[in-house]
């Protein structure tokens, strides 16, 4: 019974391979996370997180980079959220012309597949040069707004689709117009999904580096966020860019891994929040 033996061997292999695959995947995650923590935790301290870097006093600090990251998340979401939600509402609630909807969906899909280095190039011409923003956090944030737009559109659309038809019919039956229905009934009941989409978009912004490296500047010094002109002119590195600068240009791996650890915690936090917000519907 050579055939039976071969079948049994094949089966053993076929049952083992999926387990092996999963083991490799989990092992990779464990290795990356473990390695970052092992090299990063010793360099992590309260002072590092709250201080500004100073060559004079020989102190390292990534507080400016944390603030820059918050700035970039806030501004890019502030720009992408209204546009994305508006687009999604139009696509799912209005969209009288199929062709326009198809064009928008094609554009959003293509935008979401474009490499970030292309956004970096176009952002550096469009925002830094043509619109005269120079290399600034604002220019970087606006470039990232375009990049995260598809994420916001997609999440909002998914969320709008889960709102039951009867809600809309009820509102329309009570005499509400289209826009009133959307504003008072449809959007409030899909707020969770939109929020989850925003967290997803924030995750992309936190993880992005190429765009900011070429549109937002490299400085790790504290920026002046106290005035409007300061907000417009501020230019500096977010956490990811700082990691790159510390590792590649200053060969300061202690700080680089400490930043990586902060990023790892941030990623876990964003994933958990997105999961928690998205689940309870």
């Amino acid at each position: 019974m050579a055939k039976g033996r071969r079948r049994r061997a094949w089966n053993l292999l076929a049952a083992a391979l999926p387990r092996l695959g999963a083991l490799v995947t989990v092992g990779l995650l464990a290795f990356v996370a473990g390695y970052v923590l092992w090299r990063g935790l010793p360099g992590l301290s309260w002072a590092l997180l709250t201080q500004e870097e100073s060559v004079l006093h020989g102190q390292v600090g990534i507080a400016p980079c944390i603030l820059n990251t918050v700035y970039v998340i806030a501004v890019s979401l502030a720009a992408a959220l209204p546009l994305g939600v508006g687009a999604a509402v139009y696509l799912t609630e209005y969209a009288p012309r199929r062709r326009l909807a198809a064009a928008v969906e094609f554009a959003a899909e293509t935008l979401s597949g474009l490499p970030s280095i292309l956004y970096a190039m176009v952002g550096s011409i469009l925002f830094c040069t043509v619109l005269g923003l120079q290399k600034s956090l604002l220019a970087g944030s606006l470039t990232l707004a375009i990049m995260t737009l598809p994420t916001v559109i997609r999440a909002t659309q998914e969320s709008l689709k889960t709102v039951p038809r009867s809600y809309r019919e009820g509102a329309l039956g009570l005499g509400a117009g289209k826009w009133r229905t959307v504003r008072t009934v449809v959007l409030p009941s899909s707020v969770r999904g939109i929020a989850a989409g925003c967290i997803l978009a924030a995750g992309r912004v936190v993880g992005e580096s190429a765009v900011l490296l070429y549109t937002a500047g490299l400085s790790t010094a504290m920026q002046d966020f106290s005035s409007l002109s300061g907000l417009v002119k501020a230019s500096g590195s977010t956490l990811t860019v700082a990691l790159y600068v510390y590792a590649k240009e200053r060969s300061d791996f202690t700080t680089a891994f400490a930043v990586a650890t902060v990023l790892l915690f941030l990623t876990v936090l964003l994933n958990l929040t997105a999961g928690a917000v998205g689940r309870r519907r």
Binding site: R19, G86, A87, A101, S116, V122, E208, S209
Partner: protein, 281 residues
């Protein structure tokens, strides 16, 4: 209100057109100056040579293709079997823990992968293969394989879960073992989704810049597994901050961007085809 919402929706289309327009406008002059044949097939990239700069991108073009192919060869089998495990073999509670782990793997910023690659993988390769330096195409391929893993797993799992239960029950009733059912019934039934996962992986690998910038060595050699190489994306990244605005060097970087854009559009087209094929089936 409808008009305003339509404008939001159109924004995505406008952004895509702007990006395409800028890349074409900024990318064509250098290609025209160097000649399309010389640009695409030239084997020497010497952009900073003051007297006779050479702009041949064939080394980067081939490196990108080899890099993506290598990442797929390494990453797809692991991803496929992990997906089989998650969708079919894993006990429910375990799958519920592993899913978030996979999305965490997707959320880790690319610079963190680059940093771990730079500090753990590159020295390990140098020691294991007795090389003068570990920065190489091989290191980049391994990093890329890890980075495409989550999206391959995600799409494949979804595709496998969409296979009608009747197929599997029929197969089991005919006396096939579970492993035979997964690999000979479920997987073929999900093949268009798996194909889409592979294409998406290729797109991701072609577009990644920062992580491989940190491990590939960045010398524009013709590709060789153990050689220091430069990808299309890293070719742009490495010179972007140094090329002065308006110079031929900077224009040539935009030409590389244009080539990358065309590549990604082709991949997206292929992705749409495979996904549409699934809907039709």
């Amino acid at each position: 209100m409808g008009v305003l919402l339509a404008a939001c929706a159109l924004a995505a289309v406008v952004f895509l057109l702007l990006i395409a327009l800028y890349l074409i406008l900024a990318g064509l002059p250098a290609i025209r100056k160097a000649g399309l044949g010389e640009f695409l097939l030239g084997t020497v990239w010497d952009s900073t040579n003051a007297e006779a700069p050479r702009f041949g991108i064939l080394p980067m073009l081939l490196t990108s293709l080899w890099g993506a192919a290598g990442a797929v060869v390494l990453g797809v089998p692991v991803g496929f079997f992990t997906a089989v495990y998650l969708a079919k073999a894993a006990p429910r509670p375990l799958a519920r823990v592993l899913r978030p782990a996979v999305s965490l793997l997707a959320g880790i910023p690319s610079v963190v992968y680059g940093l771990v690659g730079m500090c753990a993988l590159v020295p390990a390769l140098r020691a294991a293969l007795d090389l003068p330096a570990g920065d190489s195409l091989l290191a980049a391929v391994i990093v890329l394989a890890v980075m495409i893993l989550p999206s391959v797993i995600d799409l494949t799992t979804t595709a496998l879960e969409a296979v009608p239960r009747e197929y599997e029950e029929g197969s089991l009733a005919l006396g096939a073992t579970e492993a035979e059912t997964w690999l000979r019934v479920s997987a073929p039934a999900a093949r268009s989704g798996i194909a889409a996962a592979v294409v998406l992986g290729v797109g991701r690998a072609l577009g990644e810049a920062m992580a491989i910038l940190m491990v590939a060595g960045n010398v524009p050699n013709m590709p060789g597994l153990l050689r220091s190489v430069r990808f299309l994306t890293t070719g742009i990244a490495i010179e972007m901050n140094y090329a002065s605005p308006g110079s031929l060097q900077r224009q040539a970087l935009f030409s590389i961007g244009l080539v990358l854009f065309v590549f990604i559009l082709l991949v997206n087209l292929l992705l749409n085809r495979t996904l549409k094929g699934r809907k039709g089936a």
